[in-house]
């Protein structure tokens, strides 16, 4: 093959062409870059100028001049967008062509102007030394990679895995066995929650001996002196104290010991331990726990539930009627516990110092989480019936660790747990569509359940003398004889409650509907003894004390009726302020949370 001559001028020319093309390419590159930047900076399709002008046009629709302006500008900006794209594209093609020219020129030069290989000078044979050095360098590189990786791993080491682990375990029905066996004695002799009949045995019986096993939680006698949770001891709506006031007037101040403003709203009810009254309040941004001095009504301390790991940044959207702080707090006399609509759970000591706090995961709850907390021994019981994952769990009061956790196959509910001693064991009674269920309060094992409730369950159950009463609006009122195989004693759906929970003595069941009708049934047969319309919306749950039933309607008027088979109104005492919260009663006093204020009633 004949090799063509390589005339110098040709090569020179080619070099020049290549150089010019390269220059051209660089200029094109810059132009394209500028164009691209412009397009991205200005974003003509979202031109704010056009937007504001259209807004103006919206308020001034007859301005023909403005309309013209909008149209022109809109056209221009769209044109700018497409032209700019066309320019970039054309620029790209030109760039490619110029690069192609460079490549052709250089390749031709290379072809014509083949350099003869210059013999490289013979180096000292460094082959073996090179290999040694190479080994070392590879080693160094490896070390560097490990180092960089570890730095990365360290820097980015976040809590994701743990958080996920927690989040996942929340959804499963594992019971953390380790803690359960450590903290809970196998004997389930109960001591919290019961009926009046078994009160004595509970207070004095073998329960005391087991007290010594577990230090740091109140005895039943201690509990019933106080009002430690929603609807009182065990959450059953029964107060075992005496001298409960019957007559007062919030407006005139009659029998009102003090009245104290509550900083943040909340539909939770006060809980009382000795000389302290606790409640919580929250709005979308702040969640607080308040401790009132029972004597003076002064706020002793305010604790904020903030900076809690896993707490969602945004408060959940809740129904106005539920609010951000619907669940009532609870206390075991050592600590107070509060939960909020966003799933933040906080434990404080009696001085307002935070002991622990955690987030249970944003409640998937369309009205807002409202199940109140309950205490049992040194455990905090949380009913967490959320969409997709319903469970009930017990957390160690001291640490917040999950002691046991039981999954529930139920719909979302708004009812609260009730702890009742049923003769042999302490049962935890929960209601949610589709069933009322009982769990061993000590270890969370399900004892029995009965399909007898449906809908969006708000009322909690009532327990008396071996019978559990459950009710929900658009469902039915059911009396369940408990035992190994629970039996439906009777049912009725004439009067149903939406919010207030029923309350029962051994003989009677008292029910208040949310539209204000109070009904009394025979607890064993279901025979209706009386009904009475109070004609006002009622959200607060009735409380039974000293043979009377305290029914407070939404306007704040307390209707006190005899707990008897005939209707007999004792007295009606107005608060002078609306209220939807269940009153708390201790010896000689009633604490009522009004819409804005906390009232202490007594003499």
């Amino acid at each position: 093959m004949k090799k063509p001559d390589s005339p110098d001028p040709t090569i020179k020319l080619l070099r020049q062409i290549a150089f010019v093309s390269a220059l051209f390419a660089v200029v094109l590159c810059i132009l394209i870059l500028v164009n691209w930047l412009q397009l991205h900076r200005a974003d003509p399709l979202n031109s704010p100028a056009v937007k504001t002008m259209i807004d103006r046009l919206g308020s001034d629709p007859d301005n023909a001049q403005l309309r013209e302006q909008v149209r022109t500008l809109d056209l221009l900006s769209r044109k700018a967008y497409f032209t700019s794209q066309w320019q970039i594209r054309t620029g790209g093609y030109l760039l490619l062509i110029s690069v192609l020219i460079i490549a052709i020129c250089l390749k031709t030069i290379e072809y014509f102007h083949k350099k003869l290989p210059d013999l490289p000078e013979i180096k000292n044979n460094t082959y073996w030394i090179d290999r040694k050095i190479n080994r070392r360098w590879v080693g160094y590189t490896g070390g560097a990679v490990v180092l960089v990786t570890l730095v990365f791993a360290f820097l980015s080491h976040n809590e994701l895995e743990n958080m996920l682990g927690n989040a996942v375990s929340r959804g499963t029905d594992t019971i953390s066995g380790k803690n359960a066996s450590k903290n809970i004695p196998l004997s389930t002799s109960g001591k919290a929650g019961s009926v009046p009949d078994s009160l004595l045995t509970l207070a004095t019986g073998d329960s005391i001996s087991s007290d010594t096993l577990l230090d740091g939680y109140p005895t039943w006698t201690e509990i019933i002196r106080n009002f430690p949770s929603f609807r009182g001891p065990g959450g059953n709506g029964i107060v075992y104290q005496k001298n409960i006031p019957v007559s007062w007037n919030g407006k005139s101040g009659k029998n009102v010991i003090w009245k104290s403003g509550i900083p943040l709203p909340g539909y939770n009810s006060p809980v009382v331990w000795n000389n302290r009254v606790f409640l919580s309040g929250a709005n979308e941004t702040r969640r607080e726990v308040y401790c009132f001095d029972a004597k003076t009504g002064k706020i002793l301390w305010t604790a904020r539930a903030d900076k809690i790991t896993g707490s969602p940044a945004k408060a959940p959207t809740v129904n106005k009627e539920t609010g951000q702080a619907a669940p009532t707090m609870t206390t075991d006399g050592r600590r107070v516990y509060a939960i909020f609509a966003n799933g933040d759970l906080i434990a404080l000591d009696f001085h307002g110092n935070r002991i622990w706090a955690k987030n249970l995961g944003s409640p998937a709850n369309h009205y807002g989480h409202s199940s109140s907390l309950m205490m049992f021994r040194d455990m905090l019981i949380v009913q967490y019936d959320q969409r997709g994952s319903a469970n009930v769990m017990a957390l160690a009061g001291k640490t917040g660790d999950v002691v046991w956790k039981t999954a529930r196959n139920v719909k979302v509910s708004w009812s609260s747990p009730v702890v009742a001693f049923t003769g042999k064991k302490t049962e935890l009674l929960l209601a949610a569509e589709p069933y009322v269920a009982s769990y061993n309060a000590g270890n969370g094992k399900e004892l029995w359940k009965m399909d007898c409730i449906s809908g969006e369950v708000g009322p909690s159950v009532a327990y008396a003398d071996g019978v559990v009463f459950s009710v929900n609006d658009y469902s039915k009122l059911a009396a369940i004889q408990i035992g190994e195989t629970p039996k439906l004693l009777w049912e009725n759906s004439e009067y149903l409650s939406d919010v207030p929970s029923p309350v029962a003595s051994g003989k009677y069941l008292f029910l208040v509907t949310s539209y204000g009708t109070a009904v009394c049934y025979d607890a064993k047969t279901g025979e209706k003894y009386w009904e009475h319309e109070f004609d006002n919306t009622t959200y607060a749950s009735p409380i039974m004390a000293e043979g009377k039933v305290y029914i407070m309607d939404k306007t704040g008027t307390m209707h006190i009726v005899k707990a008897d088979r005939t209707f007999s109104l004792v007295v009606e005492s107005p608060l002078g302020e609306g209220s939807v919260c269940t009153p708390a009663m201790v010896d000689g006093r009633i604490y009522i949370r009004g819409d804005k204020n906390l009232y202490c009633i007594g003499k």
């Binding site: 080693g139 490990v146 990365f152 080491h157 994701l160």
Partner: protein, 411 residues
């Protein structure tokens, strides 16, 4: 959302308006995909013939130009053999993933050809190689040190690509595909910058992507070491003229090794034993390191990111909700489902981190050990692993024909 029966009457047009049909163009005909495979086989056969029989640099050049135009500019890059690694991996791990036969062909066929003829695929079929070969105007020697160190990158890249493909996270080779934008005259800005950088550095460092990034190159490298035939610099006996010594732009010519290792044998054996004991340790250390990194690694997975976002919502109240979160909310999926999915993926990444790290550790150990084994050879020979069979060196060899074939030469 419910889009159940959307039954409704069509408007009754009185003016004789005819409702147009909804026309959608159909994708590329399937027969063309089969044609691609045929052309791949054909191109590989031709290039192998050019390299091994014709020994013509010019032939290689024109063949690579053809491939650049066909596989690059006409076929616009996808699917390519490099990217097919990920499809194969995903198909192995995810039984529901459907693997088109062409993808299998694009993965397997070049490997088989390499097994018989060396890396002729790189020389004249791969459009990426062709493009870079074209711009290698001023190739510089990098020195064995840099070659050794930078040569580790493809292993890491391959490992990561397999990890992400196996977990169904992403195809990162395709994500950082540098040249596909050029083939399509259309890409995101970042991709163009990527291509620009590679091509500019490719003027001085020949084939930077092939040598220091290409994950498929790792496989080809290893397969090629055991190839049945391979390009030789000289068709006959090497006359030790040293003309070819600097001819390879890829530093892939092994110069003769005729001296013995100056270190004494005892020490060498000791070192070799030591390093072979070190390899399991390196593997383990790498694995451990990799496992430490698994959360960072998993952060690439969108499901993990979503779970993280749900768990730790952005601090700023005023910030608009991220699109991922919006989509999650409108999907009506339970958070628990997202969490358990994410934690499952996280587990996979933990195991994957061990395997990836272990693999990288093993490779480092092997590369060190390999540089201890002596390779006695007197001729200038192409390194079978690293050589791209571009046939540049052939042009430099003064020995043009095998003496035994001289009778047939008629020029």
């Amino acid at each position: 959302m419910v889009f159940a029966v959307q039954r409704f009457p069509k408007p009754e047009f009185e003016t004789g308006y005819l409702q147009p049909g909804t026309l959608l163009p159909s994708p590329r005909a399937e027969i063309l995909a089969a044609m691609d495979v045929a052309i791949l086989v054909l191109a590989l056969s031709v290039i192998s013939w050019i390299v091994l029989k014709k020994r013509s640099r010019k032939g290689v050049f024109w063949m690579s130009l053809f491939s650049l135009i066909y596989f690059g500019f006409y076929r616009e890059g996808c699917v390519c053999s490099i990217g097919s690694i990920q499809n194969i991996t995903l198909a192995l791990f995810d039984h529901t993933f459907i693997l088109p036969l062409t993808v299998i062909a694009f993965f397997i066929i070049p490997l088989i050809f390499t097994l018989f003829f060396g890396r002729t695929f790189c020389a004249g079929v791969c459009p990426f190689g062709a493009l870079q070969d074209l711009v290698a105007f001023r190739p510089q020697k990098l020195g064995s040190r840099l070659n050794a160190v930078l040569g580790m990158v493809p292993y890491i890249y391959l490992g990561l690509a397999i990890l992400y493909a196996a977990t169904g996270t992403d195809f990162i080779i395709c994500r950082y595909d540098p040249f596909v934008g050029i083939f399509r005259f259309n890409a995101s800005f970042g991709m163009f910058v990527f291509a620009g950088i590679l091509l500019i550095s490719g003027i001085f460092i020949a084939r930077p992507y092939c040598r220091f990034l290409c994950p498929y190159g790792v496989l080809l490298n290893w397969v090629s070491r055991f190839s049945r035939r391979h390009i030789t610099i000289t068709p006959a006996e090497c006359i030790q003229c040293r003309l070819c010594e600097d001819s390879c732009p890829y530093d892939a010519i092994d110069i003769p090794v005729t001296t013995k290792d100056p270190e004494n044998r005892k020490i060498r054996v000791k070192k070799l034993i030591w390093i072979s004991l070190l390899i399991p340790f390196l593997t383990f250390a790498g694995g451990w390191t990799g496992s430490r990194l698994h959360i960072t690694l998993a952060g690439v997975n969108s499901k993990v990111r979503l779970a993280e976002e749900i768990l730790t919502p952005a601090a700023g109240q005023g910030q608009p909700e991220s699109l991922g979160l919006t989509a999650y909310k409108s999907s009506g999926k339970a958070a628990e489902e997202v969490y358990s999915e994410a934690s499952e993926i996280l587990d996979r990444f933990y195991n994957g981190g061990w395997i990836l790290g272990g693999f990288i550790g093993l490779v480092f150990g092997w590369v060190i050990a390999e540089r201890m084994l002596s390779k006695w050879h007197t001729d200038y020979i192409p390194n079978k692993g690293a050589c791209y069979s571009c046939a540049r060196c052939v042009d430099f060899c003064p020995v043009k024909t095998d003496l035994s074939e001289i009778k047939h030469e008629k020029t």
